[in-house]
């Protein structure tokens, strides 16, 4: 295989024909406040979702199973998911919620299957799930909505996003990335990727606020549709991951950039779909599908 330099030389095209992200991949090192502390191989071909349980176990969903790791990264349990999992969440009581393409399935902490909720139809494409005390939220990229479930699996509300008086707006989902996460104070955070922003709603779907700007600069979200995943920190700050220019950042709840966790140089070119979780110790867990590994980032010591 020819190197990029050899290819460029051999194709005899001028510089205006070259596609180069080198400059955009550079990040001010002073903004990178985190460093990788550990890397855990998932042993999966296609890891897709990550969550942290209240007992500290890290759960990774992918292929056709869910695998649990202890805080040190040792695999301690696994169970089969009847349908290929797209996303995973763990409720405060320990119930594990796995989103397959068109339905949510629940398991107890030991991996025993509890229930499969009603299928959502052919158009459904679940991409994310978040679980609170009494509510479960699933993001349906196919239906362009977030479904609010009660604990029995009944759909209580379909949140279609902020729509103006002309009926325009809502969630724009150009590619199959649509994430939802729960924050402190009953804040429901939903990514609106086609608008390059995150939006905050009440649990019953009332729009509260949004932030985010389309920009290749480090403080913005680059590309057609970003961020692809979010996770909440204990203080309400949001961790975001992007595709195209793969990077992981932390924003304050107001939307101000606080830190870069991992710059583009930390990822192989073409990396996409970096799912995120935060554990009780404040470690940021990045599920890297290219490396098929969980990469753990901690704040650098001053």
């Amino acid at each position: 295989m020819a190197t990029p330099a050899e290819r460029q030389k051999s194709n005899q095209l001028g510089p205006e024909f070259q596609y180069d992200l080198t400059e955009l991949r550079k990040v001010d090192p002073g903004l990178v406040h985190y460093e990788q502390s550990a890397r855990v191989a998932t042993g999966m071909q296609e890891p897709r979702g990550i969550a942290v349980a209240a007992d500290g176990r890290v759960l990774v969903a992918g292929d056709t199973l869910v695998r649990a790791f202890d805080g040190a990264g040792k695999a301690v349990a696994e169970f089969v998911a009847p349908r290929p999992p797209q996303a995973i969440a763990v409720g405060p009581g320990g119930t594990i919620f796995v989103a397959a393409k068109d339905r949510v399935e629940t398991f107890d902490a030991a991996g025993k299957r509890l229930a499969a909720w009603e299928p959502l139809g052919e158009k459904a494409y679940l991409t994310s799930i978040a679980a609170g005390e009494k509510d479960v939220f699933a993001a349906d990229a196919g239906g362009r909505c977030v479904l609010r479930y009660d604990p029995s699996g009944r759909v209580v509300t379909r949140i279609a996003g902020k729509v103006d008086e002309k009926g325009a707006g809502g969630f724009l989902i150009p590619s199959p990335y649509f994430d939802v996460a729960l924050g402190p104070d009953a804040a429901l955070w939903i990514v609106n990727p086609g608008m390059r922003r995150v939006e905050c709603y009440t649990y019953d779907g009332q729009f509260e606020r949004a932030w985010g700007k389309a920009s290749p600069r480090i403080e913005g979200f680059c590309g057609c549709c970003n961020p692809v995943h979010i996770a909440l920190m204990a203080d309400g700050s949001l961790v975001t991951s992007e595709k195209g220019l793969a990077r992981v950042k932390v924003y304050r709840p107001s939307g101000m950039l606080a830190s870069v966790v991992a710059p583009p140089s930390a990822f192989a070119e073409g990396t996409a779909g970096l799912d995120l979780a935060v554990d009780a110790a404040g470690r940021i867990l990045v599920l890297d599908p290219r490396e098929r590994a969980v990469r753990m980032f901690v704040r650098k010591k001053a």
Binding site: Y19, G170, L172, G194, R217
Partner: protein
């Protein structure tokens, strides 16, 4: 959802399906012509978009000028984005998401991609094959940031079907292969047959 929203979705789907059908008519017509002209057991050269690395050789190694390789668009895969990074350069920063960009704001050095507003923040992107030289720069942008709906194919209404394809010889990814003349395209998404 209110009535206008439903109408919007239908219109967008109609446009998408219409554009796809138009594209397939062209491809199908060429396939039928090739099958007749070349005979049923004849083979032609084609680029596998799943192996293509957009090295640029397609633009310069073809015996034709401009190359018979062009960008084609799988509309069914396209997100119809306002900020298409197959159309805009990666450093593009909009003042307004739906502003109409100047020519110098476009990624394509030959301005071979046309952008047309559909509705809301949705735009349709089509290729002017007379301007496209097959460099694959837009394919890189679309693949990096978007759904990879833009990809390169040799257009058989232009290709002279050399015995030994000069591009295939130069291809560092071994992405070229012979395909039946009756099915001369290797498409992406739901249109892919092989």
């Amino acid at each position: 959802m209110s009535e206008p929203e439903n109408a919007k979705v239908k219109r967008r789907d109609l446009i998408r399906k219409g554009a796809l059908a138009t594209g397939l008519l062209g491809v199908g017509g060429t396939a039928a012509l090739l099958a007749t002209r070349a005979g049923k057991d004849r083979y032609v050269w084609q680029l596998d978009p799943e192996k293509c690395i957009q090295c640029g050789n397609c633009a310069t190694k073809c015996v034709l000028r401009p190359s018979a390789v062009k960008v084609v668009h799988a509309f069914a895969l396209c997100g119809y984005c306002d900020l298409c990074f197959g159309y805009f350069p990666p450093h593009f920063e909009p003042d307004s998401a739906i502003e109409e960009p100047a020519a110098e704001s476009q990624l394509c050095p030959t301005q071979a991609i046309n952008r047309k507003w559909v509705e809301g923040p949705h735009f349709e992107y089509t290729i002017d094959e007379d301007l496209c030289i097959g460099c694959g720069k837009c394919v890189k942008g679309c693949g990096n940031f978007g759904n990879g709906s833009l990809f390169l194919q040799t257009r058989h209404n232009r290709c002279v079907n050399c015995n030994e394809c000069a591009i295939a010889i130069a291809c560092p990814a071994q992405a070229w292969r012979r395909v039946p003349a009756g099915h001369p395209y290797l498409l992406k998404g739901e249109d892919r047959q092989t």
